[in-house]
């Protein structure tokens, strides 16, 4: 897998007259985990939606293997590129198995609604995410972490080389955030998928990504491996955050420790 390539060229995105992303050019490294970070309203989710062809650019384009993604047949794109929207909701009573099976949609037709390929892929996706035991349960009766795993299983059953995740850890507690990101990491490591996600938690973004794209006010400030990118200066410039960047004792990567107004020890220099 991972022979597919995504690039963005002079992308301008907006809703109505409001420009959210203004002239963005970048290349997503294949077979790696890329995370887009930036302050609220910087256009990171909007950018991800454009990559997923959920939003049509005002100008510029997203290229999938050199072709404009908006000019391709949406069903063909769906066989290469999967997207999990921000906090999706399943219809009441829909079982995990039925949800995950919908991931097979681009591979199915009206006559061929449940082939043996569909069956094996769905089963494999359920097992990989540890959701097989819960397959007969309605999605709305699951905990937040289980629910997110069910949705990731659906995107997995779609069998796409590229997987886009819009804030997959929203509303989850820290333990479940780590659980979901471990799963994402596993998909990348075991199945060699290209992953692009939007995350809010900077330390988790640093920990789980090979490549970071840092955005501010609709533009890319910088992009590259987290080790080289994350500095106290960058965090001040982009997020307006005073912090110290230490070395994470667990991963050896940068770790951000924010400095608040009143809660720091007397030795810390503001």
């Amino acid at each position: 897998m991972s022979e597919h390539q995504i690039t963005a060229e002079d992308l301008v995105l907006g809703y109505g007259d409001r420009v959210v992303v203004d002239g963005l050019t970048t290349e997503i490294p294949s077979g790696k985990v890329t995370t887009i970070i930036g302050p609220n309203g910087c256009g990171k989710s909007t950018f991800l939606r454009a990559v997923a062809r959920l939003l049509k650019p005002s100008s510029g384009q997203v290229l999938l293997d050199g072709k404009a993604i908006t000019s391709m047949r949406t069903r063909e794109v769906a066989k290469v590129l999967g997207m999990l929207p921000q906090s999706p909701t399943a219809p009441e009573g829909l079982t995990v198995a039925d949800l995950v099976a919908k991931g097979r949609h681009p591979h199915q037709s009206w006559l061929r609604q449940w082939s043996s390929d569909d069956e094996t892929e769905v089963e494999a996706a359920l097992r990989l995410t540890g959701m097989h035991e819960l397959a007969a349960r309605p999605v709305d009766e699951l905990s937040g972490g289980q629910r997110q795993r069910a949705w990731i299983s659906m995107a997995l059953a779609q069998e796409t080389d590229i997987l886009l995740l819009d804030e997959p850890t929203t509303y989850l507690d820290l333990a479940h955030q780590v659980e979901v990101l471990d799963l994402v990491d596993k998909l990348h490591a075991d199945l060699d998928r290209t992953i692009v996600m939007v995350l809010h938690d900077l330390n988790l973004a640093v920990r789980y990504s090979d490549h970071l794209i840092v955005m501010r006010e609709g533009r890319i400030v910088t992009a590259g491996p987290p080790d080289e990118l994350i500095t106290a200066d960058l965090l001040r410039d982009v997020f307006g955050l005073d912090s110290q960047v230490l070395v994470d004792p667990v991963s050896g990567r940068p770790m951000i420790v924010p400095i608040g107004v009143r809660r720091s020890a007397p030795t810390v220099q503001h």
């Binding site: 997923a52 219809p91 043996s116």
Partner: protein
């Protein structure tokens, strides 16, 4: 032959033709079909010359005496067939709207589509005799145009980078109110006898319906229903929301438009044939999904439930009540409480 690798999703068929085997849904569909047939026989059997249910069944299936044949086929059956078709159409129409918007309140009778069809029809009944342009096109066409117009207006007003259920319901309820007011205004300003005729029609009635009503309704239901049933595969993806459906390769705008137009045409066709029979489009899909225990309203079962409700209500209206009432009054009186009962019962089962 079936195999099961994924819990709850046995595979049926092989090669190019494969489906998920859902025994409960099949049993429910067959049972509803039998129920509708029995209700039609029961309804046809009652009248000045009573015929037993087995005899009616025998006549419908090709037996019986000449007299029975005449009474059943020529006199009584068209009324039940119109009821059946109208119920099925309303049921399917409601199931489509409720599935796409994922909101049980979004049914054509609550959103003003039925009211649009009614306003069109009443305009022709009330102003038909005058120089008003509507006079030339007749009640059926006016109802069709009114329903479609209401549907388009609601869709356009509610569209904002996609259709969002709650916004659609609010706009639909407002449009419904405006159209009801318009209809009332026409009844007030119209001639008293025209207004009376319109009022009976507005309550939804199967009185005096013949094959000339049944045949066009059957053709319309067959054609539109086939389109709708063929779209169920796309519908199952649309139920996950616009973004997810698009990510799965569904052309959301196109599929949604096809289904909503089909749904509006179905509702308008039903109003044309029998008036705005209350509550069926809202109740039938909700009843069907609770009997079949599916996550959204199942189209075929919703249509069959609608048919059973209308034919059953017609029997109640004609036979069980001391005064013969328009069927729409009975469907509303039966449908509402029945839905409440189902909701309370299923809640209890869940919380136990």
């Amino acid at each position: 032959m079936t195999t099961t690798l994924v819990p709850g999703r046995p595979r049926f068929g092989r090669g190019p033709l494969t489906l998920v085997w859902r025994p409960r849904l099949v049993v429910v569909d067959v049972a509803l079909l039998v129920l509708v047939f029995l209700l039609v026989c029961l309804n046809v059997g009652r009248g000045d010359y009573p015929i037993s249910v087995p005899d009616v069944a025998a006549v419908i299936l090709g037996g019986g005496t000449d007299a029975e044949h005449f009474i059943v086929w020529d006199l009584r059956l068209p009324r039940s067939v119109v009821g059946l078709l109208v119920g099925a159409g309303f049921g399917m129409s409601g199931a489509i709207w409720q599935s796409i918007t994922r909101n049980p309140l979004a049914s054509p009778d609550l959103l003003g589509i039925t009211a649009g069809a009614s306003a069109g029809a009443v305009a022709v009944i009330v102003f038909g005799g005058t120089a008003f342009v509507g006079g030339a096109i007749g009640v059926p066409a006016a109802a069709m145009v009114g329903g479609l117009l209401a549907g388009v207006v609601i869709y356009l007003l509610a569209w904002r980078r996609g259709i969002e259920g709650f916004r659609l319901v609010l706009i639909g309820v407002a449009v419904n109110g405006i159209l009801l007011a318009l209809t009332n205004w026409m009844l007030v300003v119209g001639e008293i006898w025209d207004a009376q005729e319109a009022t009976v029609w507005l309550n939804g009635s199967l009185n005096g319906r013949g094959w000339s009503d049944a045949v066009p309704a059957a053709i319309a239901l067959g054609a539109i229903g086939a389109v709708a049933l063929a779209s169920t595969f796309q519908l199952s993806a649309l139920k996950l929301g616009d973004d997810t459906a698009r990510a799965l390769g569904v052309r959301v705008q196109l599929s949604q438009s096809v289904l909503l137009v089909a749904s509006v045409l179905l509702a308008a066709m039903c109003v044309t044939a029998a008036g705005p029979i209350g509550f069926i489009a809202f109740v039938a899909p909700q009843v069907a999904l609770r009997i079949a225990r599916t996550s959204g309203p199942p189209l075929l079962a919703s249509a069959l439930t609608g048919a059973a409700l209308v034919v059953g209500s017609d029997y109640v209206a004609r036979v069980l009540l001391p005064v013969e009432l328009p069927v729409g009054i009975v469907t509303t009186a039966i449908g509402g409480p029945f839905l409440m009962y189902l909701i309370i019962r299923t809640n209890r089962r869940l919380s136990r």
